[in-house]
């Protein structure tokens, strides 16, 4: 057992840190929260691409550096801690590339991965529908074959980053073959595709609906081949569930809060001397350190060769657990921050607070999504109970536990 980062890894971390601190000094970006989702900067992405800091775990065969998942952990830990605007390439890095590596054709990999590594692809994944979550039997978005093409009709909703994405991966059921779910690469400018921003309760532009009306796609738009959606989509979960994005996204606000309590005063003393506040902040730090270890464990397991197809400790235990914990941790951070800033929390933009703290009210509202987005936490908890503890499925209590993975779910 060894928790030490190697000398090379420490050097890498310092290199990333030095770069980010210089960028901040030069004013090329201002640290902000949830930067993996909302920090959009093609210019910053270009600099990351130039340094080879996109898709660093990708095999050299496709132009990647084939670095370890722990190295990737280090990279994104520094990025998120500094609130760096990575969203432009984040989805392509952590979702498109893994999707293509696990399920794409060789030609799709050769065409798209180098572009993704250069930061040229903005990407989103569209699965959820108004009436369907991860239970694919509820899908209404469907496709038919027309000559060598596909035509898709349907509606997707709650899609992160669809507003910026040039390519959207859309899952749909076959209109003719039962229980056949395919995954398509759709260009934003495809005729019949409409992306509408959802008016989110916090006011952030984070989610969209994606409407497909007779969207015609060439035969090679289907990722890997027909019917491969379920075995391909799993590629996103190590990050979607087990990544640092779920525990480190509010690090800038956290730092600002720690500073705030030392400066703000009540009853003639700084807030930082209030034992109740000290205790809550200690709890936040504990949640953060444990969440960090959960994400590190995922990276460690990936480096040990976890292929994420069963049996996979990443998919059954480590990533779902990380997501459930992260949702609570980030919500607790924002609830506590609201309590601490007191009356200033009434404003959606409290100019007397430091930049990463002043929108705490809006972040608090956004945080209601953290236990819902990516997979609702109660669903993940049931998954953990079935796959890790072997508890019987509620719908089919007499079936052996791994029958659960055979049902049509994403």
């Amino acid at each position: 057992m060894d928790f030490k980062f190697s000398k090379e890894q420490q050097k890498f971390r310092q290199e990333v840190r030095d770069f980010l601190e210089e960028e901040i000094r030069n004013g090329t970006f201002e640290p902000d929260n949830l930067s993996w989702n909302l920090g959009y900067s093609p210019a910053f992405t270009k600099k990351c691409a130039e340094r080879g800091w996109i898709g660093i775990t990708c095999p050299k065969k496709y132009g990647g550096l084939e670095r370890s998942y722990v190295d990737n952990f280090i990279l994104y830990e520094e990025m998120f801690r500094h609130g760096a605007p990575v969203s432009t390439h984040f989805f392509a890095d952590c979702m498109l590339i893994p999707i293509l590596l696990i399920g794409g054709t060789e030609s799709q990999r050769k065409e798209l991965i180098p572009r993704a590594l250069r930061g040229e692809i903005t990407f989103a994944v569209a699965n959820s529908e108004p009436d369907a979550g991860y239970d694919l039997t509820e899908y209404t978005t469907q496709y038919v074959k027309d000559g060598g093409d596909y035509i898709i009709n349907g509606q997707k909703i709650w899609i992160s980053f669809a507003d910026h994405a040039d390519i959207i991966a859309v899952s749909a059921k076959s209109a003719s073959e039962p229980k056949t779910y395919s995954f398509f690469l759709v260009n934003k400018d495809a005729p019949g595709l409409t992306v509408n921003s959802i008016q989110f309760l916090s006011g952030h532009d984070a989610f969209s609906e994606v409407i497909l009306e007779n969207v015609r796609l060439p035969g090679d738009a289907v990722i890997g081949g027909e019917g491969k959606f379920r075995e391909t989509i799993i590629a996103v979960y190590p990050t979607e569930w087990g990544g640092l994005m779920r525990i480190t996204a509010f690090y800038p606000l956290w730092k600002a809060l720690l500073k705030f309590v030392k400066e703000a005063r009540r009853g003639g003393k700084p807030l930082s001397e209030d034992p109740l506040i000290r205790s809550k902040l200690a709890k936040i730090e504990t949640n953060y350190q444990v969440g960090r270890l959960f994400a590190l464990k995922v990276a460690d397991s990936m480096d040990k060769g976890d292929r994420i197809t069963p049996p996979s400790s990443v998919m059954s235990l480590e990533a779902p657990l990380s997501k459930v914990h992260g949702g609570h941790a980030e919500q607790f951070l924002l609830e506590t921050a609201m309590d601490i800033v007191g009356a200033y929390g009434q404003l959606t933009n409290a100019s007397k607070l430091e930049s990463t703290l002043r929108e705490v009210t809006r972040w608090y509202l956004f945080s209601r999504a953290f236990t819902v987005r990516g997979r609702p936490e109660d669903v993940l908890m049931t998954r953990l109970a079935e796959l890790v503890l072997g508890l019987p499925n509620f719908l089919e209590p007499d079936k052996a536990p791994d029958a659960a993975s055979q049902r049509a779910t994403a």
Partner: protein
């Protein structure tokens, strides 16, 4: 970076589990409890033969030369088995402090004895409700001649006082200094003239004694570490004890979850296993998350100690998380095991008591949260 056990560590763990499953099943623990017995010399002999009493002792003193990580793996298995005996106190309040602070003569005398299983150590520290309060240390040690001290006062909650060979006694040698100065560690022969005990039982039916020191003579050479500078060593010892104890809790917590899952898979209501109901499943998942977080945070702290790195924050994070996770495991496992789980004929209460004992010993959640707050620079 490698979060899995090494081959040696894994072998240590599995051989410990095999031994404990065979020699220390819950029936043995139950028998000991029925006889009010918290030490089995036969079991202790076996445990020494396995090298456990010498696990962390350097090889030059007949030990295994292992670190805190190896110790933690053993403690987790012992917690899982509800092991009853002075292993924890001898290792944490005997071996580790002597290794840290002992003179060559002291190491040469005590460490081989501990490794061989012939010396049992315990800690005489507590005098008030707060083990971390230096103000509460009033047991005094006055120099009485050129080569000795006399200890007077009463210590509380001393485990294994009646079977220990040595009491590591925390006494005040200078009462003109501030509360945290003037405190010294003494290795006191437990059979010294003037020592008397009055015992009570703790939540796990372990004997804890009120130990009275009446003009107890201790030679100067039995001071461990520097005279008057013992309090900081006590703090270090308590931090290690808290972490070590977290591993015992962890083993017990895992056992409680395993028992619960087993039970709800089989127990049927309305024609289906109660483990198919989502509330029951979510209770189990909450316990699982707590246990996994405890395992990782405790392992990190143990590794820091093994590497000789500072671990104040890591220990505090591990302790607060394990405390809260432990409390939740107690609550939810009892919820799911129903009425039968509340009866002593069931195994669950043995583990409940151990987990709660761990929770309340060596520092509260509030204390360690405050330690984290200080580490955050607040």
């Amino acid at each position: 970076m490698d979060l899995a056990n090494s081959e040696f560590q894994e072998m240590l763990r599995t051989s410990a589990r095999d031994f404990l499953d065979e020699q220390c099943p819950i029936t043995v623990i139950r028998e000991m409890a029925e006889k009010n017995n918290d030490h089995s010399p036969e079991l202790w002999k076996e445990v020494s033969k396995l090298g456990w009493t010498g696990l962390v002792i350097p090889e030059e003193y007949q030990g295994g030369g292992n670190g805190f990580v190896e110790l933690s793996l053993l403690l987790e298995e012992m917690g899982r088995a509800c092991f009853t005996g002075p292993f924890f106190s001898t290792t944490v309040f005997g071996a580790l402090p002597v290794i840290d602070l002992g003179t060559d003569a002291q190491k040469g005398k005590y460490l081989p004895e501990i490794a061989g299983g012939s010396s049992i150590f315990t800690l005489a520290l507590v005098e008030s409700i707060d083990i971390h309060d230096a103000n509460s240390i009033n047991v005094s040690a006055h120099a009485v001649d050129n080569n000795g001290y006399e200890i007077n006062g009463v210590k509380l909650m001393v485990p294994y006082a009646d079977i220990a060979d040595y009491l590591l006694c925390v006494a005040r040698t200078d009462d003109r200094a501030g509360a945290e100065d003037g405190i010294t560690l003494f290795i006191v022969d437990a059979k010294s003239q003037g020592i008397s005990h009055k015992s009570s039982r703790n939540i796990s039916d372990k004997k804890l004694s009120e130990v009275t020191f009446e003009r107890v003579k201790v030679p100067t050479e039995n001071i461990l570490g520097e005279r008057d500078k013992g309090w900081i060593e006590v703090q270090k010892m308590l931090g290690r004890a808290a972490l070590a104890n977290c591993f015992e809790m962890l083993g017990a917590m895992q056992r409680m979850l395993d028992m619960t899952v087993q039970y709800i898979k089989g127990r049927k209501r309305f024609g289906r296993p109660i483990g198919s109901f989502q509330t029951a499943q979510h209770y189990c998942t909450r316990m699982l998350i707590g246990i996994q977080g405890a395992r990782l945070s405790c392992s990190l702290a143990a590794w820091q100690l093994s590497e000789g790195l500072p671990a104040t924050k890591e220990i505090a994070v591990a302790k607060t998380w394990t405390n809260e996770a432990g409390e939740e495991v107690i609550r939810l496992s009892h919820q799911l095991n129903g009425s039968i789980g509340l009866c002593m004929e069931h195994d669950l209460p043995f583990f409940t008591k151990r987990v709660k004992e761990g929770h309340m010993t060596y520092g509260s959640t509030d204390y360690y949260r405050e330690a984290i707050a200080r580490e955050l620079g607040l």
